[in-house]
Symmetry: C2
Subunit: 390 residues, 2 copies
């Protein structure tokens, strides 16, 4: 028989043409590459926008005033290619996007994107340090699963994400469990996408710096069955203003999640082998779940946590914290770990809470870092926290 | 204790501001929504691009000349908002993007995106028919896992995606297995992202139209350990021109995948309970794997398949097809299912192959549809094929 596809190049050209509306674009796109992480840890960006008047780049490596980094204006060359090279960046994972004449867009040359609440960002990794923990490395890999469980307390089928470490399936060992909770606007996918939990765990376990453990990432939005796009219903823009936020349902129904995990996975179902941690609202949840179920967790991690409920009518469950915290103290725990950035809008809340813990005699570890209320800190906090567990 | 976060709105406004570089954008974005699937199955698009000279929309519902749909030009209003409403669309999943003054971008108001090879597209679903199979419905949900297996034949650790049907974890039953293969430019994530396999399987199993089965989606790019971004190495633009493409390694090492699945899952390890199917290059793989391992599969699905290897030095393994096809015939099978669009560039190859099968006396089912070489057909073919299995 005779081969009748003349060459792979034919197919490639045909398929590539789907994405292009002009030969001009084809030529230019083929020449360009973006981003390029250079050997000296500078990063170069290029974008073909011949008719644009202004191309701005906004990235998480930029100094930020409050929340929003100050954009950098790209330089145009005579072919309509705009470019910029950063100064040398610290090794880390960075997200970025463009604003072209007021229009928000991702880098058309970079298919690596991640959703944060309702916006999509590109990401890149600068290697050689902390960033190496967020890249896939040549180490034994754990498994990642999306599972559904029944929640009688919310009368929902709900989805969660579970990481099991390399070797789990072929071992007979039972494992400790970290319950890892997202913040407002996040969901059960946040810690594995923005949070790089799989990469961090694979690497730290391979290095022997973290114990092999199961990581359970539930959805803490109690009005949601699953992440936007993964739950029944019309595809609509994800929001942050969800019903049943920080009103007690997450805390009271959390035993459903533990029960599901302990019935479905080979875990050590004991306090000394359970940890709970979360960022922002997930830190809030970790704080309150651990004090309301004081026989359950030996390790508590609060990353840039909210402490107090939203204003308005405060649910009973958030009153009289001191009694339940004292009970938690008396039951004992191995680690109460709090980390926050100096510029975080929750800094003062956390300071008050630390004073409260001290006055009650609850020991805790406190880490204060540079920075605000952003994912670079939460990835970093996770990579520190998991080395302290079990 | 007193609540010190004044309102949820404060947090929301703070966090939302990360994504915006101007108050003007905030105001406009808040007013706009895109896309809107209207009750009459028309779809409305809006984009705020006050300085743009031309805004083009390219979507898979548009008639296409060869590969690329003819773009639609949006209309600008006096506020700089460009808009377009389609005619009523057939129920389906559609992908789209914009070209603004020659610049390719996704809809900034639609966070639902999917990568196809090296480009990111938005998607939307028009309900009321076939599209309902691609949306998450309120039915029992299976689990989705990313697993790594050792491949001695490629000397790699490699990743695959596995769907297990609702009830798998609590049942003691053994299940049949569909091995489902992607095309060139795809990877082990293609069938669950672009292909909507989880949604299709959950729904058809819930309806009783497909038997509960495990679906295994390996990576058919033999030079790749895993999808771009999920394998060790620098993040670089995914390509289609990969080494070890359609040169025999996938076919000869495929038993490694079957062995991994049968050692790790509760499956019926027999020919009558195994199916293999794939699109384009995955159809090619399914054809050749099933004839080279003729005691293995009772169900074969070729979706818009490539038939013959790429030109050049043809590997031994692709010669003398007739002998192995005759052996496959003599071993017997339950279903040999071929589907292709009338405008597919592989149509003539498939016609020759059908003639060849007929001359050898191999029975097959042939489905000829409208359309070319695109995902709308492959999702549809999958939804038909799985109802015929086991």
């Amino acid at each position: 028989m005779k081969a009748i596809i003349k060459s792979a190049a034919t197919i490639i050209a045909l398929v590539a043409s789907i994405n292009l509306s002009a030969q001009e674009s084809l030529w230019n796109q083929a020449e360009l590459q973006s981003p390029i992480v250079n050997e000296d840890n500078t990063v170069s960006f290029q974008i073909f926008a011949p008719k644009a008047q202004e191309v701005l780049l906004i990235g998480t490596w930029m100094p930020r005033e409050d929340w929003a980094p100050e954009p950098v204006s790209l330089q145009r060359d005579s072919n309509g290619v705009w470019s910029h090279t950063t100064k040398a960046l610290a090794s880390d994972l960075y997200t970025y996007h463009y604003m072209v004449d007021g229009l928000r867009l991702c880098d058309p040359l970079n298919p690596y994107v991640v959703r944060d609440v309702s916006s999509v960002f590109n990401y890149l990794i600068v290697p050689g340090g902390q960033g190496d923990l967020y890249a896939v490395q040549d180490v034994p890999h754990g498994s990642l699963s999306y599972r559904w469980y029944s929640s009688p307390g919310t009368q929902q089928e709900r989805r969660l994400t579970i990481y099991t470490p390399a070797g789990y399936e072929t071992s007979t060992q039972s494992y400790p469990v970290l319950y890892l909770l997202h913040g407002m606007g996040g969901d059960e996918t946040a810690w594995t996408t923005l949070g790089r939990t799989v990469e961090i765990m694979d690497i730290l376990i391979a290095r022997g710096e973290a114990k092999p453990m199961i990581v359970v990432m539930p959805n803490g939005n109690m009005s949601q069955q699953a992440a936007p796009g993964s739950a029944p219903g019309v595809l609509s823009a994800p929001g942050m203003d969800l019903p049943l936020t920080m009103e007690g349902t997450m805390e009271t129904t959390f035993p459903e999640i533990i029960e599901f995990v302990e019935q479905n996975y080979r875990v050590n179902a004991e306090k000394g082998q359970r940890a709970i941690a979360g960022l922002s609202m997930g830190g809030f949840h970790s704080l309150h779940i651990s004090r309301l179920h004081p026989h359950t967790f030996d390790y508590i991690g609060l990353f840039s946590p909210a402490i107090y409920p939203l204003a308005g009518s405060i649910p009973e469950i958030y009153m009289n914290l001191d009694d339940s915290l004292s009970a938690q103290k008396n039951n004992g725990y191995s680690l109460y770990w709090i980390a926050i950035g100096k510029n975080d809008f929750l800094f003062d809340q956390v300071a008050r809470y630390r004073a409260n813990l001290s006055s009650l005699g609850l020991p805790f570890t406190y880490i204060e870092t540079e920075g605000g209320h952003t994912w670079d800190l939460w990835r970093n906090y996770l990579s520190q926290f998991v080395t302290l567990l079990f």
